[in-house]
Symmetry: C2
Subunit: 282 residues, 2 copies
C-alpha cells in the first residue's frame, strides 16, 4: 500500500477524527472521520500531506482503530504453545469468531470488568486492518489488501466464554477490548519478521512471543476469510494470542479492578489500560 | 411499542428505503432510509401517517430487515427436539454466536450456495428487531425494547461450521441468510401465543414447530444479552431453529442449486428463496 504514515482515531467534540503522524514529530488532526472510508477512497495515502491542525498527541482521547462500520473478526488457537496450554490439539483450519464494536475501547481507556464474570483474562494480539475490498483473493496477493497493523488485547470472560460451545458472549462484553494506538502501514512493519508481542499485568510479564510464531499468518488468514465473505476497508482481524494467559496458569490468574494491563508489539505500538469496575457496579 | 404497522426495507436507485403497510392495502414508500435510525428517533411510529409514494409491493426488491449498522446476534440450541437431533444435552444458558451483515439477503433473493461447502442446511427462525437501546434490562421489562418480529433462515454450511469449535464461518457465508419480508410490530403478534414456524424445501415440509417451544424466550434473551452489551435500535436477534434440519436426518439432506426454500411464521411473514450457485462458480 506504500502509505508510510501512522494513523490513529481520536474522539473530538465533533465526533471521531483521524490523526496522522508523518514521522517528523508533528501530529495532524485531519478533517476525516472514518478510517474505513478514508481507506476505501484512498484518502489515507494523502493524510500525511492533507494537512490539518497540529495537535499534541498527549492531549488526545484515542478511539478504537477500526472503521465505523467495520467487522471485528477474531482468530483463536493460533499459537502452538497457547493451544497446548488451553488443552487443545493443533487445528487444521483457523478457528474464527467475532466481537461486536461495543466491546472495543481505545488505547488508554479503562477495561471495564463486569463483576458478573469472575474470570477476566488477557490475550495480547496482532491486528490486521483491511485496506481494500477483498473477495476470494489468493494467499499470494492477500497482503495487498492489508493497509496496516495495530495492537489489541482480546480480554475474555472465561466463565462466560465457556457457558456454551460458542465463545461470543465471553469475548464481547461492553468496553473490554483495547485496540490501537496506531495503524502502522504495512510497508513499515512485517509480522513475518518476528515482532516481539507481549502482555504485562502490573509490571509483571505474562505473555512474550513473536508474530513469526503465528500458525496461520496474515496472508493465509485474509485469503481464507475472503473466500467466505467480502472483507472491507476498515474491517479488522485479531490474529490470536500466544501462551501465558491467566486461564492457562496453575493456579489460574484473573484480572481485578485497579490493575494495569500493558500490551505491546515491537514497531507497532503499546496499549496501557487500567482495569475498572463499570460505573453501574461501583 | 404500539406501532400497528408492518415495515419492510426496499432497495431503490437512491439506496434503501422503508416501506410502510398501514393495513389498508396501500403500501407507502417513505423517504426514510435506515430502520435503526427510524426506530431510534421514533419515526417508525409515524411511518403509517408520514405519507410517501404509494407503491405496488410486488414491484419491490426487498432488502434485509435490519438497521444499516445493526448487530446480527444468533442463538443456537433453543428448541428441545433440535438440540437432541444435533446430539447435545439441554443447555443451562443460551448458546450465542453471530453473523456479519454480508451474510444477509432479502425475502425473495437467491441463497448463494458456494460449492466450497457440500453441506448447505436450512434453519427456520423467529427474529426479534430491537427498538430501543437496551442495557442491563430486566426480563420483566425486556419486551418493551423489542420493536417487532420478522423471519429468517439461518442457512448453514455444516462442514465449515464444524471445521473448528466456533461456528461463525459456517454461518456467515456471503448472501446466504434470507430475512424479512416484514417487521411486524410487537403489538400485532406475540411469540408466546405459539405461532406456527415452518420450512419447506421444494414443497416438502422439513420443519414445523411453534414459537411457544423456544427454550429461552424473547424476553429472557433480550435481558440476558443486554447484560453483556448494549442492544441498539435496528439490531436483530435470531432466536434458534426447531427440529428437522438436514444434518439431523438419516441420511443427511443438504440444499442444492435450483431448489426453493420457503420459510414462514404464522402472522409474521413468508420468505421464498431459490438456491443458486454464486456467479463466480457458475
Amino acid at each position: 500500500m506504500g502509505l508510510d504514515v501512522r494513523i490513529a482515531v481520536t474522539r473530538t467534540v465533533d465526533g471521531e477524527r483521524l490523526v496522522a503522524d508523518r514521522g517528523d514529530g508533528e501530529f495532524l488532526l485531519t478533517p476525516v472521520s472514518d478510517l474505513g472510508a478514508a481507506l476505501a477512497n484512498g484518502t489515507v495515502a494523502d493524510l500525511g500531506a492533507l494537512g490539518g491542525r497540529s495537535v499534541d498527541i498527549a492531549d488526545l482521547s484515542l478511539a478504537p482503530v477500526v472503521g465505523t462500520s467495520g467487522k471485528v473478526i477474531c482468530v483463536g488457537h493460533n499459537f502452538t504453545q497457547h493451544i497446548l496450554e488451553m488443552g487443545h490439539g493443533l487445528p487444521e483450519y483457523p478457528n474464527v469468531f467475532s466481537k461486536f464494536r461495543e466491546a472495543l475501547v481505545g488505547a488508554n481507556d479503562a477495561i471495564e470488568l463486569d463483576p458478573v464474570s469472575s474470570a477476566w483474562d488477557w490475550e495480547a494480539e496482532l491486528v490486521m486492518v483491511i485496506g481494500r475490498p477483498a473477495r476470494r483473493v489468493s494467499e499470494e496477493t492477500a497482503l495487498d489488501y492489508v493497509a496496516g497493523y495495530t495492537v489489541a488485547n482480546d480480554i475474555s470472560a472465561r466463565d462466560w466464554q465457556r457457558r456454551g460451545s460458542q465463545w461470543l458472549l465471553g469475548k464481547t462484553f461492553q468496553s473490554t477490548t483495547p485496540i490501537g494506538p496506531w495503524m502502522v502501514t504495512a510497508d513499515e512493519v512485517d509480522p513475518a519478521d518476528g515482532l516481539s508481542l507481549s502482555c504485562m499485568v502490573d509490571g509483571i510479564e505474562k505473555q512474550n512471543s513473536t508474530t513469526a510464531d503465528l500458525l496461520f499468518g496474515p496472508g493465509f488468514l485474509v485469503s481464507y476469510l475472503s473466500h467466505v465473505l467480502t472483507l472491507n476497508p476498515g474491517d479488522i482481524v485479531l490474529t490470536g494470542t500466544p501462551a501465558g494467559v491467566g486461564a492457562g496458569r496453575e493456579p489460574a490468574e484473573y484480572l481485578k479492578p485497579g490493575q494495569t494491563v500493558v500490551t505491546e508489539i515491537e514497531g507497532i505500538g503499546r496499549l496501557v489500560n487500567s482495569c475498572a469496575a463499570p460505573s453501574f457496579a461501583a
